[in-house]
Subunit: 215 residues, 2 copies
DNA sequence: ATGGGTATCCCTAGTTTAAGGGAAAATACG
DNA sequence: CGTATTTTCCCTTAAACTAGGGATACCCAT
C-alpha cells in the first residue's frame, strides 16, 4: 500500500485527486490540506507517514518551494511530486534542487499523475520533456558549461585545422591524428604549428586553456 | 523529413538502427560511422547536416562525452541523443551539461528510440526515470557544494599530489612546478607518476580529461 | 599569371613528458 | 617501537611535442 499526502489549495483539483486516490487499490490517502501552514499544524496528529506527497508549488503563504525541504526533512525518504501551474524552468530547477522527485504541469490527466507516482515509487524521477529542457538549460547556465560553444571558428582556423584542433584537444597524439586524417605526421605537426600561431600560444596546454575559455 | 546521423561502434546495433531509420517515412539517414575520429574525418564529405545525431557514449578512442560539444559546435542546433550501456549518473550529468538533449539506456527498443527522437524534434528533453534520479542527485551535490577544490581528493591524492595536480592542470610544466613548490624536477616527476597511477591514466591529456570531465 | 591561402610532405634540433629502476628521510599510527 | 605513508631525490630510456628551415601542388582572385 502506497501512502499519499496532498497539499493543494485548488479545492476542485484537491477533491478530484482525493477521490482518484481513494479509488486506487494500492494507494491510500493519509492527509489532504490546502496550505503548508495547515500541514505543519496537523502533521503530528495525522500520525501516518506518507510515502509520497503531492505538493502544489503555487500556494499562498509559505512557498511550495520552501515546503519541499521542510517536508522532506520531516518525512525522511518521502517522495515529493511537485504540481505547478506555471512552466517556469527556474522554478522546476529550484524545486528539483530542493529535493523534489517529480514535476507535474497543470493541467494534467489523473492517469499521468498515477504513472508518475508509480515511477517515484520505484525510485525514478520524472519531468515532462519541455520542463526537462528548461531545467537542463538552467543547469547549464548555472554551471557555466559549454553547451554549444563554437570554440575554433573565432580564431580563424581553417576546416582542416579545426579537425586537427578537435582531435588534439580530445587527447589524440600527433601520430594518432595523422592516422585518423590519413596524412603524415609532419603534416599534423605543420597544422598545429599554424594553429598555435593563429591562436597565439606555444604549447598544447596553453591552447587547451585558451579554447576552454579559462583565460 | 528528419535527418539522422549515427555514431555507434556496435556493428549489430548500428545496422539495426540504420535499417529502422531507413524504413521510417519521415526520417532519413545522412551518415553512420563507428567512431568519433571517423566522423571528424568524413563529416565534410557527408555534406548534409543532420537534425539529430544518435551518439554512443561508450566508444573506444575519443570519448563520446567530448564528442557532444564537438558535434554540437559543428552542427549548430543539432539534437544529440546519447546512447549509453552504463547507467552512470555522472556520465549522464556530464553528457547533458555538454549539450546532449536525451539519454537512451542500452538495451532499448527501437520504438522507444523513435519516441525520443520525436520528442527531441519538438524541443523536448528525455531521460529515463532512473538516469534522471541520478542526474538530479548529481546536480544537487554540485549545486550545494563548491565543487571546485575537492575534485582531486576523491582519487585519494595526497595534499602534495593535489598541489602538483592543480598546477599541472593549470598548464605548468614539470620544471615550473618544481620551481613553484621548491622541489626538484625529479620529485615533480615522481609525484606525477604516482598521481597517474592513482587516477589510472598514462598521459597528461587523459588526466585532464578525467578531472575536468567526470568531476 | 602572379600572389595568397590551403594542404601536403620532409629534415633537424631542442624541449617536455612518461615510466622504469632505486633510495633516504620525515611523519603518522597502532 | 616498528610499519606504512608521504615526501624527497637520483639515473635512464623512450616517446611525444615545439619549432625552425624548406618544398610542391591546388585553387582562387586580382
Amino acid at each position: 500500500m502506497y501512502l499519499i499526502g496532498i497539499i493543494e489549495d485548488d479545492v476542485q483539483l484537491r477533491k478530484t485527486m482525493e477521490n482518484y486516490i481513494s479509488l486506487q487499490q494500492d494507494m491510500s490517502l493519509v492527509f489532504s490540506c490546502n496550505r503548508i501552514e495547515k500541514w505543519i499544524s496537523i502533521r503530528q496528529d495525522a500520525g501516518i507517514v506518507p510515502d509520497c506527497v503531492l505538493l502544489d508549488i503555487g500556494l499562498p503563504g509559505i512557498s511550495g518551494l520552501d515546503a519541499i525541504s521542510i517536508i522532506s526533512s520531516y518525512y525522511p525518504g518521502v517522495k515529493i511530486l511537485v504540481i505547478s501551474g506555471m512552466e517556469d524552468p527556474l522554478i522546476a530547477w529550484q524545486a528539483m534542487m530542493n529535493g523534489a522527485n517529480g514535476f507535474l504541469l497543470k493541467p494534467f490527466r489523473l492517469a499521468e499523475m498515477q504513472k508518475q507516482i508509480e515511477i517515484l515509487k520505484s525510485g525514478g524521477t520524472v519531468l515532462d520533456p519541455e520542463t526537462m529542457t528548461g531545467l537542463i538549460q538552467t543547469a547549464r547556465t548555472r554551471f557555466n558549461s559549454n553547451g554549444s560553444t563554437d570554440r575554433f571558428h573565432e580564431f580563424g582556423l581553417t576546416q582542416r585545422e579545426i579537425q586537427v584542433a578537435e582531435l588534439l584537444v580530445a587527447g589524440s597524439s600527433y601520430k594518432e591524428i595523422s592516422t585518423i586524417l590519413n596524412v603524415s605526421y609532419t603534416t599534423v605537426n605543420e597544422h598545429i604549428k599554424n594553429i598555435y600561431k593563429k591562436v597565439k600560444v606555444n604549447s598544447k596546454m596553453a591552447f587547451i586553456n585558451r579554447v576552454s575559455g579559462k583565460n
